[in-house]
């Protein structure tokens, strides 16, 4: 069979590889996947002064974004201004549209403190629940055991999730983002080593009885 296609670029391969992992972990909430190396993107660690950039988290979010969609950034509990150098850095590499947080399709949160901003993202409507935001949030360490118990589609019975640095209040914002299914925000958590977990709005999250 003669083939007719050009070899994908490194970024294209990265986007496809990352996508399969995101699809997998969103389909199986609580399952932790390891995102690929992002060294080739050369993400500056100090994109936002005073906050450490998680390059895995940022790159995973960017892999889904292009000129047809919009992406906002947040750090230390506040949205990053439209013309902040970090926003410009993302824009130049993705062509992402700039829009208000309430209208944005993607949000990249630099830290768990920024989870407090989840309520201001779009949750979709009853007729078009897909017109809602997807948030990527950087966390310290993810583990498959710990404080939180997950259930819902994609989970056989229940599964446990540990997030080293999230407070109950911060987790409360994620829990609230799925309190009116099918409306809601889908969340990916990415830790410092590139471990990633998907929490679609269909996942119920409660504090584990054993913890």
């Amino acid at each position: 069979m003669n083939t007719a296609f050009r070899t994908p670029t490194a970024y294209e391969v990265f986007c496809t590889t990352t996508y399969r992992l995101l699809l997998d972990c969103l389909s199986r909430p609580g399952t932790i996947v390891q995102l690929p190396s992002v060294e080739f993107l050369a993400v500056p660690t100090d994109l936002i002064a005073g906050s450490t950039t998680n390059p895995f988290c940022l790159a995973a979010c960017m892999s889904l974004v292009d000129q047809e969609t919009s992406m906002v950034l947040a750090a230390a509990g506040g949205w990053v201004a439209e013309h902040h150098p970090a926003a410009a850095w993302v824009h130049l590499r993705t062509n992402a549209r700039r829009s208000a947080a309430s209208e944005s399709a993607f949000a990249c949160l630099w830290d768990v403190a920024s989870l407090a901003l989840l309520p201001s993202l779009s949750h979709g409507s009853l007729t078009f629940p897909e017109r809602s935001a997807t948030a990527f949030c950087a966390v310290d360490v993810l583990s498959e055991s710990g404080t939180w118990e997950l259930s819902g589609p994609g989970i056989q019975t229940t599964t446990a999730l540990g997030i080293s640095n999230v407070t109950s209040e911060q987790m409360g914002y994620i829990q609230a983002s799925r309190s009116s299914f099918p409306l809601g925000v889908d969340v990916f958590l990415v830790d410092a080593t590139g471990k990633c977990v998907g929490l679609p709005r269909s996942t119920r999250i409660v504090r584990s009885r054993t913890s």
């Binding site: 296609f5 070899t7 994908p8 496809t16 699809l23 997998d24 889904l64 819902g152």
Partner: protein, 294 residues
């Protein structure tokens, strides 16, 4: 015409931004099990209605490391399966297989393979008609509102009338189901035989309708409940005493076809055999038959 001759297609035919759009909508579909998510749907070099939705999903998710299986009616060698496989391998170079166990992505029309799929496999289904409500509400705008409000009363009435008039629910394929207790979903033209195999499955199922421009999904371990009544249970096509004339299987979906007789004057006769041809072959090999070279 210089460009026509030198044109090098993108890996997976559609361009990267098109893939990204399908990918984004599939994530929404997974987060909203059974909900139809609109997507842009590009024009492909095969006909609208010939599997362009499933193709676009496969093109959007496939990587060079994948092993692909393409079936139509359960058969890897069906003319349409051959043709779609030809397009996908020509534009990706991925290796293909007929063995359900060896595949990472299975693209299918009308069937779910007989062999149980694993957690690490993705089933991509080609969908002709997306909305189960079309039988009671052909207007998309109104049907969208009905889904939004989970207003499925008219569909239950339709099913009930069907039982009264025909003694059975008249929907053969495309049987409506409720996914994860919320959305009513069309099960594509898979037979009823396959409907229950979507229920709490180990694998992820992705559905694509190119002409209708919708994708939807059933994540693993998600309830898929066919519409039924307490005294009128959902029934599959299984018939007492059914048997594949080739491999002898009694627990597969069978289709009818005509076979020539060899060595006699008798013209031939009608038989039934497994629609999942690679499964049937596997069974026969297990029984000591060998495969003929094509």
């Amino acid at each position: 015409m210089t460009e026509q001759h030198t044109n090098i297609y993108n890996f997976g035919f559609i361009d990267e931004d098109s893939k990204r759009e399908v990918r984004r909508q599939l994530l929404k579909a997974v987060a909203l099990p059974g909900h139809q998510v609109p997507f842009a749907s590009r024009d492909l070099p095969i006909g609208r209605g010939w599997g362009t939705g499933g193709l676009q999903i496969t093109m959007a998710i496939i990587a060079a490391s994948d092993t692909l299986k393409v079936i139509d009616q359960g058969d890897d060698e069906s003319v349409n399966a051959v043709n779609l496989r030809r397009l996908l391998t020509r534009t990706t170079g991925v290796s293909t297989t007929v063995d359900t166990q060896a595949a990472t992505i299975i693209q299918t029309r009308h069937r779910i393979p007989e062999e149980q799929m694993r957690e690490d496999q993705i089933l991509v289904l080609q969908v002709p008609m997306v909305d189960p409500l079309r039988w009671v509400e052909p207007n998309l705008e109104r049907a969208t509102v009905m889904h939004g409000e989970a207003d499925y009363g008219r569909m239950w009435v339709y099913m009930y009338e069907s039982v009264i008039k025909a003694g059975d629910i008249r929907i053969a394929t495309q049987y409506p189901v409720i996914v994860a207790g919320r959305y009513m979903m069309d099960t594509t033209p898979i037979p009823r035989w396959d409907v229950l195999r979507l229920h709490n499955a180990d694998h992820l199922s992705l559905f694509g309708a190119g002409r209708e421009k919708r994708v939807y999904a059933v994540p693993p371990y998600t309830t898929v409940e066919p519409l039924e009544f307490e005294d009128f249970r959902f029934k599959t096509e299984y018939a007492e005493g059914q048997r594949c004339h080739r491999c002898g299987a009694t627990n597969t979906f069978l289709t009818g076809h005509f076979v020539k007789s060899t060595g006699t004057d008798e013209p031939g006769h009608w038989v039934t055999s497994c629609s999942d041809a690679s499964y049937c072959d596997k069974q026969m090999v297990a029984q000591g038959w060998t495969e003929a070279q094509e």
